[in-house]
Symmetry: C3
């Protein structure tokens, strides 16, 4: 993430941790709904939090993986899992979709921007880079749902999620083509993705794919 001045890099790092924690939380909730044990909670949380970024790094051949470079993130997610399990044993917590909406939207936007940034830096063509952003944003959730034996929500709920990331990616590509600096492209892409996602949920947009969807 070169090209960013230090304090914005620190802020970005902080936002990334919030996003990773949000994705991990969505995994914890999914595992709890399936009444998995503590191992299941940890595995599903890790798949949700690190799945998208790992697939991105795998497809871009970007080694070592980001969660190996940042062991803290891994330890943080495990701590979060143990805390959540401990908490849920004592209290009956009803995690609603609403509760994790903002961190999840933030995660989508930030992972989207980081995926495009890394893909363009690796010399990928622009359409591949936009897709890499979408993959980074959504595949954690896809893996989470697959291991929980569900059809991934992202693929079936007819609500714009990946589409918001795609639109943000097109904005990134446009600004990039105009020669804007990386930091601006990333910030605009992430903000636009998050904003579009919030707008889509607020206005209750739906992708009417099959006429009666």
């Amino acid at each position: 993430m070169d090209g960013l001045i230090p304090w914005s890099e620190l802020g970005l790092q902080l936002l990334e941790w919030i996003a990773t924690a949000a994705f991990a939380l969505s995994g914890i909730v999914a595992a709890a709904r399936k009444r998995m044990d503590v191992v299941g909670v940890c595995v599903v949380a890790c798949l949700a939090a690190f799945g998208g970024g790992t697939l991105r790094d795998l497809l871009l051949d970007h080694r070592p993986f980001f969660w190996i470079r940042q062991q803290e993130a891994l330890i943080g997610v495990f701590t979060l899992c143990l805390l959540a399990v401990g908490l849920m044993r004592q209290h009956h917590i009803n995690w609603t979709e609403r509760a994790i909406f903002w961190p999840d939207a933030l995660g989508l936007g930030l992972f989207n921007a980081s995926g495009i940034h890394l893909a363009l830096n690796a010399g990928m063509p622009v359409f591949v880079a936009i897709l890499m952003g979408v993959i980074t944003g959504i595949f954690g959730g896809v893996l989470r749902d697959m291991v929980c034996n569900e059809i991934p929500a992202t693929l079936r709920d007819h609500r714009p999620y990946a589409v918001c990331a795609f639109a943000g990616g097109v904005l990134y590509a446009g600004l990039y083509a105009l020669g804007q600096p990386d930091a601006l492209c990333m910030a605009a892409c992430a903000a636009f993705t998050v904003g579009l996602r919030a707008l889509a949920i607020w206005r209750n947009w739906s992708l009417k794919t099959w006429g009666q969807g």
Copy 2:
């Protein structure tokens, strides 16, 4: 795909595009049956079309992935998805298995031959190369069915599919051991796989695994 003269390479490229489109179509049909949204259609189509080849490239450490080198294929599959979604919204289309039989069989044969070819060129032992052909041919469909929350049809329907690819691979290995040129091995392998698959469906062959299958 060295060792092929230009016009045959062009023909091969054309056949590969047809095969990729056929696999993508099978993904579109699977997603439509599950009533996924447009994102689901695109993701399942991409998994079906590029899953086998990507796994092959991953296992062979063959970078960059073929759909990154050939951005056109990726754009083509997305265009196909959007066309299909638009078409299906207006007309109720009943995609039968029969409709995608020939392109699917063609895809199996071609991906099988290309998988073995690349594996042998990468210096893999012959049994591994034959398996790599089978993996290239079948894993798109396996991933497609997994993300649709089904047991993969290839693994359970007791009809020869992977077995045809394996037989074609043995033929490839035999010709290769006899010192035949690559182009001949590939053509014979692909044609034999497709022919065997057509014969199996026409004669209604079944792999009676459990006595009463």
Copy 3:
């Protein structure tokens, strides 16, 4: 696996083959329960036997994959599958969980130790290395259950499995930090994992995650 004297290396190799066969057997049983065909049996057995190790090698960027270097293991698993299918067609065999308990526990312990060993040799931080051991031990089973359209047993059955591997990994890391030789660390880790797993089953331990689990 340097640092081992030849005869112990031979013994280790033998144990690894037993473990691989045990994991393959668990895949055969899972596929038979779902009444898959012979292709399904082979694919599920291979995923169970080689999935964990392949994911480990992929995450560590350790090429070529171990089943490509050891073509014999691959041929062995296929032979086992064909034998099992032939046998099961003639006799109705009731594979119980008990029957594959010891080889499966052995596999868990050995793959756990080998995963940590390879990760530490690749310069991974210690927490990542312990996780790599757990991943090597459990992901074959996770993939096996995912392709069979089940929530992975490891994640939901509330019985210590991954946790035993984790405890063995902590022991490995402790001995390693004390400067013990690799062979001792591996042996202690594998033996402790297997012993703990046996104890957990014998004493019927359960991970009471949700209060009423």
